[in-house]
């Protein structure tokens, strides 16, 4: 008779243990994806070794600004969100949906793409991004979809956040800095001090337990457990930003005519960077193409942005022509109507949209201003 596997006690591994973890995942057939320094930023990419992790690197963040910096320690996860998010692997920027070939009768759709969806292991998913993945699941994980197939094969190694950035506000959105059980297979808490560079490892799934058994580890003592908890708790007090989350839905619904939209539109370039950097923005468009002979046609799905003028195009013109209406659509959807459509907020407080906005528009400031405008006597 099968019995439920008890969740094992937390374990401890050292920095070399990360490499063992990577190799164990690779041996199970996973493509390990994690943070690495590349092109002056901490990007997410496939890793062949834990040595590629950004040991000793941190970031300096501000509205419209991102800079790598050397840390005083060797922490591998001592940095907050970078320009990319995990959606580029689960919900790729470009994907071919099908291809077709011209025939005498018309056309034949070529057989289903038979490439097996990749089995990814994400290494270093912060709690805000765990929530972002859960939010995209509610939109995109329709049964039978490729997203659902990639998602079902995914192994998640989360990292509790002990290093929030200047633009972070996950505590406001209730998405961090600690990871919730059930959302990951394994969760790390990184500890760097006089006792060395260690990772507390918590198990979140039977798969996680199986994998951890393949990695040399030791039992975590109570002092270490307490230290890990208190570092995550302390991170909650070091958020660079705050956003009052209650009543956001109503605020958005009430603010359609707000003058603040004109103010933000005078700064917004409608470039769409925020939507590309956002870990939950999911919009796509369709591109139907043929080769030069016309014998072969393909349909591609591409990331799209509600800041694009063509996004709302109907014959005769676009619905949202003014920049103000497009910024309003983005923010109102993210914080308001997302609830109506998918049962939660679309914002996890990661701060990427603030950092990667070329003119430094800060949604926490915009929300504050909208609230002040609505509540003014």
């Amino acid at each position: 008779m099968a019995t439920a596997t008890a969740i094992p006690d937390p374990r401890l591994i050292d920095a070399a243990g990360l490499e063992n973890l990577c190799q164990a995942l690779a041996a199970e057939g996973y493509h390990v994806v994690g943070p690495a320094v590349q092109d002056g930023a901490i990007v997410l990419r496939e890793l062949s070794s834990a040595a590629e992790l950004p040991f000793g690197w941190g970031v300096r963040l501000e509205p419209g600004g991102y800079q790598l910096r050397h840390r005083d320690d060797t922490a591998a996860f001592g940095h907050s969100a970078g320009p990319q998010s995990w959606k580029r692997f689960l919900h790729p920027p470009r994907e071919r949906l099908w291809s077709a070939t011209r025939t005498a009768e018309g056309f034949d759709l070529d057989g289903a793409e038979d490439d097996e969806p990749p089995r990814y292991a994400f290494l270093g998913v912060r709690p805000c991004d765990l929530h972002a993945i859960a939010i995209q699941d509610r939109v995109l994980a329709q049964p039978g979809s490729r997203y659902a197939a990639r998602r079902a094969r995914l192994f998640i190694v989360a990292v509790n956040c002990t290093e929030p950035g200047e633009t972070c506000f996950c505590t406001s959105m209730g998405t961090g800095p600690g990871a919730e059980g059930g959302a990951y297979d394994l969760a790390l808490t990184e500890l760097v001090d006089e006792r060395g560079h260690r990772f507390l490892v918590e198990v979140g799934s039977p798969q996680g337990a199986d994998l951890l058994r393949q990695v040399p580890s030791e039992r975590a003592d109570h002092a270490t457990l307490r230290q890990a908890r208190s570092e995550v708790e302390a991170a909650a007090d070091r958020m660079g930003r705050h956003m009052q989350a209650d009543g956001l839905r109503e605020l958005m619904a009430d603010s359609h005519q707000a003058a603040r939209w004109d103010d933000v539109a005078s700064r917004c370039l409608t470039c769409g960077n925020c939507t590309m950097a956002c870990p939950t923005c999911f919009c796509t468009t369709i591109e139907d193409t043929t080769d030069l002979t016309g014998e072969h046609a393909e349909r591609w799905e591409l990331w799209d942005s509600c800041f694009d003028l063509d996004f709302s195009y109907l014959h005769g013109g676009s619905v949202r022509t003014s920049p103000k209406s497009r910024y309003r659509q983005w923010l109102t959807h993210k914080l308001g109507t997302w609830h109506d459509q998918f049962g939660s907020s679309g914002c996890v407080g990661c701060g990427r949209c603030i950092v990667w906005c070329p003119v430094g528009i800060d949604l926490t400031e915009e929300v504050k201003a909208l609230r002040a405008e609505r509540d003014q006597p």
Binding site: F107, A112, Q142, H256, F282, D304, S312, S325, R328, D340
Partner: protein, 292 residues
């Protein structure tokens, strides 16, 4: 030791609504100078039967795909004795619709769907049915008329108000006569008359006043340009028809039809899933907001 995850059905396949079914043009009828009706027969497993008011995504090979409401449907027989017929009326307004409008009998198109909400014609059971159409807005309403006239006794009055820009823009003109003979009160108006036009001239809104006998017992189905939807619905409400008894069909950019692409948002609604047909009670505040 192996790590097992949840089994995944058919890896790498397409969500069923994302893969087009191939259909062949069985017949083509020019409705006006820019509007064509295509009768389509499946060349493989057909789509599920659409309900009145639902739409499909029609694909012209190598050109692209557009949402088009279904203007008629005949289900296929279970023994394969009868083949499904899907009727779609298309106005040439862009590259894809032009390609579809020039499709000839024997040509192949792709069909995905059906998507969205429907008119729920039976909500007018035992009451007066008022159908108001502007231009090609008559196309998605045709299945409502056909449903009502097939079971005419279920309804009290069946009234159809048709508006078009000019006599040349009127569609289904011959059928309008058929519907009259089948006890529908059909009234037609054009914004601008032309030589030989002896009918009514003026906006379709103007026909509403005299078309209503018992506003509290009237259920209205309205389709046309958004401005026409608004003006007609306001007039209906002024005449005493309850906003919840008015159903309108809304239009936004659509790419996927499956609530995945985000294009068809209208405030809280994803019109491919929550629309295109919605109650005016729900639509009124949304239509009133500019650039929503």
């Amino acid at each position: 030791m192996t790590i097992t995850r949840e089994p995944v059905s058919a890896p790498g396949t397409l969500v069923p609504p994302m893969r087009p079914s191939r259909y062949v043009v069985a017949a083509r009828r020019a409705e006006t100078y820019d509007t064509v009706t295509l009768m389509l027969r499946p060349a493989e497993a057909p789509i599920e039967p659409p309900r009145p008011g639902q739409f499909t995504m029609l694909y012209a090979y190598g050109v692209g795909e557009v949402p088009v409401s279904v203007s008629g449907f005949r289900p296929g027989g279970s023994q394969g004795s009868r083949v499904q017929v899907l009727v779609q009326t298309i106005r040439a307004v862009g590259a894809v619709t032009r390609a579809l409008c020039t499709a000839a009998p024997g040509d192949m198109v792709g069909v995905r769907g059906p998507f969205g909400t429907d008119w729920q014609p039976h909500s007018a059971d035992g009451r007066d049915m008022l159908v108001v159409a502007g231009g090609i807005g008559l196309a998605p309403l045709r299945p409502v008329l056909l449903t009502a006239l097939a079971e005419r006794a279920r309804y009290d009055r069946v009234v159809l108000l048709v508006g078009a820009r000019s006599p040349d823009d009127l569609i289904f003109t011959r059928e309008l006569e058929t519907w009259r003979r089948r006890d529908a009160d059909v009234r037609v108006t054009v914004d601008h008359g032309s030589a030989g036009w002896t009918g009514q001239v003026g906006l379709v809104t103007k026909l509403i006043d005299t078309a209503i006998e018992d506003p509290a017992d009237t259920v209205a189905f309205v389709c046309g340009p958004e401005i026409m939807l608004r003006l007609c619905s306001e007039e209906l409400v002024n005449r005493g028809v309850a906003a919840a008894d008015i159903r309108v069909s809304l239009e936004r950019n659509m790419r996927c039809g499956a609530a995945l692409c985000g294009h068809c948002q209208l405030g809280p609604l994803l019109l491919c899933r929550d629309g295109p047909v919605v109650s005016y009670a729900e639509a009124a505040p949304l239509m009133a907001r500019k650039e929503l």
